[in-house]
Subunit: 338 residues, 4 copies
């Protein structure tokens, strides 16, 4: 494959998210929408309308393997493992919808397979590619926040129940991916609790606390039962705190130049500490579509053999954390080590 040729990508699944992926592949000069595969004839006809020159087919057996270099898998979670395995064994690079799999054993197997074959395995943790999260990362990395102290997220709304999974696989996965991207620290144990609505057998509201090697504290609240919708992350450092409110149109990111000051160790025991309030900055964000940045990153990783920022390897940790959280819920919050 010549360096100047676009990466030929087949798309498996044209449901809710598929059309967005297709549009971004087709719109990116260094990629080509090589084929679209979906079981539904109706959806395929919609593909033909929007992308008249792209071949379509109903099953992966009908795909001509010589016509594409990589696949994006945008199908239901339970099919991720067999499909990803199939295409990796076929020698194709794979970008798969979140979550990578619902089982960490299967996730590890896929990661090993990709490493063995020297293929790119990336997971579509879209939030990592948003302007807001990129800016947060920049603030973490340039040291202006001081030492990181805590992460606190609320992702709640009145949600569509998904009968066969808990709210954590639907919502917490986003915050775990963002957290993993922002801070490069290992989760040591997970304590989680949850509430079950009588309409389902799985938690519809859950709280996760993560313990890290370094004392950093992370807490995630997710719910399908809240009529007030929240999409908020606080990342607190000793020097400043960043708040990401995804529901705000104009002020998604706010940087609070505030902190807790302490002059000497004695102070901690002998007196009230002072807190410092400073200015707040609302930085202007660019308008790059996250999915466009993600597709571009996928192509670049494939081309250069680099590990993606949301690689399969890192996604394994997220799947393991969610598994541990479910175990902890069953034990009413008892910590589960990773």
């Amino acid at each position: 494959m010549a360096r100047e040729d676009p990466l030929r990508i087949a798309l498996i699944g044209f449901g809710y998210w598929g059309p967005n992926i297709a549009r971004n592949i087709a719109g990116y000069p260094q990629a080509e929408l090589a084929a679209v595969c979906d079981l539904s004839p109706q959806r395929l006809s919609s593909v033909s309308t929007s992308f008249p020159s792209t071949p379509t087919c109903r099953t992966i057996d009908d795909l001509d393997a010589s016509t594409f270099d990589a696949v994006v898998i945008a199908t239901p979670t339970r099919t991720h493992y067999p499909l990803a395995k199939y295409f990796l064994e076929l020698g194709k690079h794979v970008l798969v919808e979140k979550p990578l799999t619902a089982d960490s054993g299967e996730a590890c197997e896929l990661v090993d397979l990709a490493r063995l074959r020297d293929l790119t395995l990336m997971v579509d943790h879209t939030f990592v590619y948003t302007d807001a999260v990129r800016l947060m990362k920049k603030l973490v990395d340039d040291g202006s926040m001081g030492d990181l102290v805590y992460f606190d997220s609320s992702r709640v709304n009145l949600g569509l129940f998904q009968p066969d999974v808990s709210v954590m696989w639907d919502l917490a996965v986003h915050d775990l991916a963002i957290l993993d991207y922002l801070i490069d620290k290992r989760v040591v144990s997970v304590s989680a609790t949850g509430g079950i609505h009588h309409a389902s057998n799985h938690p519809a509201v859950a709280a996760l606390s993560l313990e890290f090697e370094t004392g950093f504290f992370a807490h995630l609240m997710v719910s399908w039962l809240s009529p007030v919708k929240l999409r908020r992350i606080l990342l607190g450092g000793t020097e400043s705190t960043v708040v990401f409110d995804d529901l705000s149109t104009d002020e998604k990111i706010k940087v609070y130049d505030s902190g807790v000051d302490i002059s000497s160790p004695e102070d901690a025991r002998s007196a009230l500490l002072n807190y410092r309030l400073g200015d707040v900055l609302v930085p202007r964000l660019s308008n790059t579509e996250a999915l466009r940045r993600e597709i571009s990153h996928f192509v670049e990783c494939v081309r250069q053999g680099r590990e993606p920022e949301t690689s399969g390897r890192r996604a394994v940790g997220i799947v393991e954390t969610l598994e541990a959280a479910h175990k902890s819920i069953a034990m009413k919050g008892a910590p589960v080590r990773l």
Copy 2:
């Protein structure tokens, strides 16, 4: 004591909260501010300016026991136990600042003592006496919310560190008192996690999950490290959800006529459930000062020998829950049974 005489109340402690209590006692026709006791001569002089006819003294030994029927104890937490014990043994009714004590053994001892002497022991959980919380209670009790499903509170801000306690004794105590008042259910176990800022040895941010006998789920988030201030409680029922936002001037209580509908048990497993969105009502609240309502309730309970809504007995449960939460934090979230 004739029924028509006002209840003579001595106030012990005239610090931050004391002046508000004094003003409300003095302003309530059926109560009388019989004396004020404070170690600081400066504060006592301020008492004399505002309440010229009220006798003052520096220590409780200087109080003339024949001049008062009851006391309000508004001193630091560590003094609550000895002071309350002293006055109960003296045969006086006691209203004590929150928390009742920082030790559940001492709290129980005070409750037993009050019962033995047939005296009123009440705790100043002020929020219980606000218009907003009274309205929530009414909504719970009239059945319009359906079955209660969850309680979720956030009480976070950039707070003054108190070096000798954790954020839970400062903030979570409010939510536990509100929760105890709203739902009359027994906490079975507590799982809690927390984060420690390097400026202190106690958690400055903490998350508590409470398990109840009935499956109801309660979660409390408290923090001294958040530059965004929140004072919000969600109480979710199968028929409607009530949101109490104490920072809102005009819309403290919102009633969401929303819920999750399920027509048959099969639905829960076989399909996405529907949720129902309805109107939102923002009821007009009256402007009764909570402390006035509280003093009035205290006088009434003393007079009629009734158990206060925030009795010492009920406060014991709150102290036990906080103790359990601290134990759980030390065990990284492991549940502690009550």
Copy 3:
């Protein structure tokens, strides 16, 4: 034309708003997208992709008049008059983008022409067909608001300057259409003032006050210079006030059960009046797309020969009001009679 046949509608102009109109015509069972006409070959190719069976052409001369019964004109304002005249003379029903024309003489001519030919002439004042404005109308009509006292709108943002018009033709036209729909009263005079940014010769910020026959007061504020975006209308009555905030996702309409009470005429002169604060209701709105409701209304009016709610006749009043506002601005607020 048989009653059961769909109304055949040609669309003239496929720019910013055109695709939405086309989609709604095509999606409405009783209408048919009979043709699309646009000068740009690129846009026509986009029509062919989305509506493969719809004939397209570059100029109106290429349209086959026998193939359509009505047209929607979605072209720049200055072309509205000649195009609408052309199609009315051709015997076609016409739905034209707002504003009807930029000249009230031309607007009147079109209205006369349509009346003479017994054709429907309707203007695309889309807001009138939104759920929010429909609900406001219902509240006005059922009398629950009492007597209407004032209308106050703010439609401001950091806008794209349109060099050849003032901000009023861009923004105030919306509020005037909503006002005209909500209250069926005649504007007697207009006073307006405006500010000119050095980057243009036309007002970029303007305030309009309308006097009505009945003493009702209306005020409109529009601006292209505000970094804070507002889309808010207050409609105040003696019994309640309705606030329409189009930027709110969940609470577009709020009904305040508040008012000013006065027991007798003397009160007005002798003492402070009381105001009454009541509950606030946030009614749940349906999710009907305004344009769909509008297309359906257009078809119905054509079929039944009824006058549309946003008829050409009523739009003339809006054009006249805007003209008067411009004259008033030139005279620094001097009232201009209508």
Copy 4:
């Protein structure tokens, strides 16, 4: 009077605002609360409680002129003129509540009298002394906003009707004082319109537009009929815009680094202009009480013979503007020259 002696100030009127003034005089080292005069014995008794060493009296005739150097007049508007005149003729410096008077002729007379006697005449336009407005002034003066383009204020709420005045004397006076302080430009003419609620004979809602010598545009909206409370001022410049929201606890001032760019004169006529969106800064404000800063400024002006920032001379312009606005309302918006 020796330089080191505090300025002895008598307070005339101890109603709603009087206690705040008294507290700030008494609390300021270089001032002394020399006497308090009020017709109500009850209020005087309250003075004695709070300020036991301050002499009180019922009428100004009972004041001992040798005991004070200056007065603060905090009585109803209609008494401002006779009282201020009386004390100026007595040789006392005067700080008078807003508005200076309700008649510009009387206001001018007071100003002349003060100048003649070389006395300080200052008006209590408190907003000018707030942290927020001081910061706005700083931003205007340091040139960072570019050229000022417009001022737009909304001061609306459900207000207590004052039967003998319009809403403008109650609310617009604040915005006019702020505007006068921020920009040192002369108002050329005023156009105003208003709406009358049936409960009063004076406008309860009013809109004022001010024309300046330089083309700057100012618009003020005031209302007693809005259940939504607003306290917002936008001051727009070519380089940035400042928004002052007095109802916000944490974000009273926001600086938007946004503007409209235009590269050449032709652009204005030939094409859409670009607007530029930048960061938003929420500066941290100090917590200085406005009234303390004001009393300190009054003392300093008296001592140094300087003209106060809210001098009687400048207040005349505000009274004249309000008079012109009332005339304009009677003429349905016709501009009234100043």
